[in-house]
């Protein structure tokens, strides 16, 4: 199906599809098995100018938007969302700086992130604060022209591999939700270290580590925006990044569908290719319908968000929840179509099924997405003058 892409957008698709085909597919199983961070691929993506798709040209990027970034993430995700997550997570780390950083912070960090020479990461989650962000314990205390950070962040994607971290810390606990702030911390800052690398069910090529701050001293100009803006920055960042996670889901679903259809055409049982049986046909049809519906929603949302509207939280959440659920379902059914072979590591669908699960959990669980959608519906309808009853 055609989505009326511009020439430039088609080029992004072609280029990322080539990288997925030639560079990612041959190594995805090995990186998954060895839990090895995809530095080779990150280098290729950097040389291909893909890290700065959504970053303005004045900061060394390509001047595109969320949609362009989603197109790239989707194609990479068709081959491996572990690798694509490592790529996309740098964007998640960049958004707080891009959206709320002063010009000096932007000048300093965005060109490095856009070129892919340094990866970024985003640090919010803590042992006691996941869905409930207000539970965070990490503190940042002003000390002259420095801040001193203490605490820890848990399950940080690209942790230990990235060099630039956007992290959330409490600057004034008395102010409650308005007492949190975002900071840039660099690998190598005094008092900043990493915990062990986590062992995961899926996306095992991506690195997940704890960030540990023990009297970590950073210059005060690393504050992003102003003190107290932390929660706003976190929410606005997630609004921007959620379509990217959704794009991972579209890619994963497409990748699983491709394998399932090809397999069903070749696998012969009862003297016929199994695709000739309705039990398989209907399953494949549902997988294809949902994958296309997911893509249509994600593209629409990404394009809408690039038009800079105000009401993005609901649609961003919708794209993430739908594409994540579809990816999980399609990957699970792909394993079913391949039967015993699908359960074995000889085919990539078992990895896709393991990988898909994270899409319903990270960057706000799908339950939290539904909360957001529900709350937004309540707000929207409270403003309506018309009655439907």
């Amino acid at each position: 199906m055609h989505y009326f892409l511009t020439e430039e957008q088609q080029m992004i698709q072609e280029l990322t599809a080539q990288i997925a085909r030639e560079k990612i597919r041959p190594v995805r199983a090995e990186l998954d098995t060895n839990e090895q961070f995809p530095w080779e691929i990150m280098k290729i993506l950097s040389q291909a100018d893909l890290f700065g798709l959504y970053i303005p040209e004045e900061y060394g990027g390509m001047g595109g938007g969320i949609f362009e970034n989603c197109l790239a993430i989707e194609k990479l995700g068709e081959a491996c969302i572990g690798i694509a997550t490592s790529f996309a997570a740098s964007g998640l780390g960049a958004y707080p700086i891009l959206l709320f950083g002063g010009d000096e912070l932007k000048q300093k960090y965005l060109p490095q992130i856009a070129s892919g020479k340094r990866l970024a990461a985003f640090g919010l989650t803590e042992p006691g604060a996941g869905s409930d962000v207000s539970g965070i314990q990490t503190t940042a205390v002003k000390d002259g022209d420095h801040y001193i950070i203490n605490g820890s962040k848990q399950w940080i994607t690209n942790g230990g591999e990235s060099e630039i971290y956007s992290i959330l810390a409490i600057t004034d606990r008395a102010k409650g939700p308005r007492g949190a702030s975002f900071f840039v911390v660099e690998k190598g800052d005094p008092g900043f270290s990493f915990g062990k690398k986590e062992k995961k069910l899926g996306i095992r090529a991506s690195a997940t580590r704890e960030l540990i701050f023990q009297d970590c001293r950073i210059p005060a100009d690393r504050l992003i925006g102003r003190e107290g803006m932390g929660f706003i920055i976190a929410m606005k960042t997630f609004d921007k990044s959620r379509p990217g996670i959704a794009a991972l889901g579209v890619g994963l679903a497409q990748g699983a569908l491709d394998i399932a259809v090809e397999y069903a055409r070749k696998r012969v049982q009862f003297g016929k290719p199994i695709i000739s049986f309705q039990a398989i046909q209907h399953k494949l049809a549902d997988m294809a319908v949902k994958t296309e519906a997911s893509r249509a929603l994600v593209y629409s949302v990404a394009r809408y968000m690039d038009s800079e509207p105000h009401d993005v939280s609901k649609v961003a959440a919708m794209s993430k929840v739908f594409a994540g659920d579809v990816a999980m379902e399609v990957a699970t059914n792909a394993v079913q179509v391949l039967g015993g072979y699908g359960y074995m590591q000889d085919y990539p669908v078992e990895k896709m099924m393991r990988d898909a699960k994270i899409l319903q959990i990270y960057e706000g669980t799908n339950e939290i997405q539904r909360n957001i959608i529900g709350q937004e519906l309540n707000k929207e309808y409270s403003r309506l003058k018309e009655s439907f009853l």
């Binding site: 020439e7 430039e8 080029m11 992004i12 072609e14 280029l15 080539q18 990288i19 030639e22 560079k23 290729i44 040389q47 291909a48 100018d49 893909l50 798709l53 390509m62």
Partner: protein, 263 residues
């Protein structure tokens, strides 16, 4: 430094068929690709550009659609491309091809290094590179796998031979044909791809190159293909297995039983 890379469009051999009647390659409907060894030549040039800075011009002799292959190399980071295209070039053998390509290099004038792949996967002759060097009267090295630039107007290259490796020093300008060990071809970059899409690729014909029609195309070719055929499959092959000593012993016994004179 100005580097010229010579490339060739070849049929994608993964899909090649031989016409059973004419014994020639069926080219209709077969996708063209850049000769894989020429991709290593482009990569070799790009590596030098990355490390030392250089201007890269890619050339090919071929029909108008060959400009798409040139555009692909611009997407990888080459600076310019020139298509050598003229009906008069049709039917060129390696000599006429080398004549045409070297005329283009001469026209550019300021070339320091010429890169070719070690051979093309369709003809497999490996002649065009050395012939160009002969026509341009410059030194050349074939099967190059490593290049160093000492900065004294020369190149230090490592070439692969059947016996091992050789290290050569060549004065500039020179021509090198490269093998895959030079480095895996990179993927394009988005900026280069966008530039390539819009790039104007000049076309030079026989007149632009000042070439005598008798020296190019079919007229300028010393060789003609009389017949193309698949060699008959050899049967009765024996594969020896085991340690080298075992294999030598088996071979000895075999030759002995075969009554080779002197054994």
């Amino acid at each position: 430094m100005h580097i010229v890379v010579c490339i060739k469009q070849v049929p994608d051999t993964k899909n090649v068929r031989i016409d059973p009647d004419t014994h020639t390659l069926v080219r209709q409907g077969v996708e063209s690709i850049i000769n894989p060894f020429d991709m290593f030549a482009v990569e070799a040039a790009l590596k030098i550009k990355d490390q030392n800075g250089a201007r890269i011009t890619v050339i090919t002799m071929g029909p108008p659609q060959a400009s798409e292959a040139l555009r692909d190399t611009l997407g990888l980071g080459a600076d310019d491309a020139v298509l050598l295209s003229d009906r008069a070039f049709a039917g060129s053998d390696t000599w006429a091809t080398s004549t045409t390509l070297s005329a283009a290099v001469r026209k550019m004038g300021d070339v320091d290094i010429i890169f070719c792949g070690k051979q093309a996967i369709d003809g497999d002759t490996a002649q065009v590179g050395p012939e160009m060097a002969a026509l341009l009267d410059i030194p050349y090295a074939t099967f190059v796998k490593k290049i160093e630039i000492p900065g004294d107007g020369s190149l230090k290259v490592v070439r692969q031979t059947d016996e091992g490796t050789e290290v050569w020093k060549l004065p500039l300008p020179c021509l090198l044909t490269v093998i895959k060990e030079i480095g895996e071809p990179r993927v394009p970059s988005l900026r280069h791809k966008m530039r390539a899409k819009k790039a104007e690729i000049p076309v030079w014909g026989a007149a632009d190159l000042g070439l005598d029609p008798d020296h190019i195309g079919l007229c300028g070719s010393f060789t003609q293909v009389v017949r193309v055929f698949s060699p008959p499959r050899r049967t009765n092959r024996i594969q020896l297995e085991g340690s080298l000593e075992d294999q030598a012993e088996q071979l000895f016994q075999y030759l002995k039983n075969a009554r080779i004179p002197g054994l």
